[in-house]
Symmetry: C2
Subunit: 85 residues, 2 copies
């Protein structure tokens, strides 16, 4: 998979999921650092309709398998750290 | 919602989603810092079956609405930072 191509493709994700993969919408998850396997599985599920979401169904519909693998490679390449409150 | 009660309840989540909400399983997402609204919506969807996942269906089944709101409060209270590669 090509993370650089994924990064370019991810511009359309940034409106809700943030330019660095940290969500800017209260109903959208952070994608930064998510396991590639998980991201790819969710995008395929949105594309097929197995996972239902009005916006994500539309976003995922035109994605090719390569697009999905590239997006998954990109988001998983972002490093995240967590600090407990 | 009671984030401290959510933290206690979240022990069962840690096997896959990590003690600090950073996933330790390649097919499980990070939950650290996820918007409370998103976490609660997903847990309700797993509980009802609207979102299908073998493990999460079982985990979410016994959760009360209060459990879900507390878990969402807990995970959303974890601070995450992202660093682009």
């Amino acid at each position: 998979a090509d993370a650089a191509a994924g990064k370019a493709k991810a511009q359309m994700c940034a409106v809700c999921h943030g330019p660095n993969g940290l969500s800017t919408a209260p109903d959208a998850p952070h994608l930064a650092g998510q396991p590639a396997l998980y991201v790819a599985a969710q995008l395929r599920a949105y594309r097929s309709g197995a996972r239902a979401h009005e916006v994500m169904g539309v976003m995922a519909k035109p994605l090719t398998d390569a697009d999905i693998d590239n997006l998954a490679a990109w988001f998983s390449s972002i490093k995240v750290t967590a600090q407990l409150p």
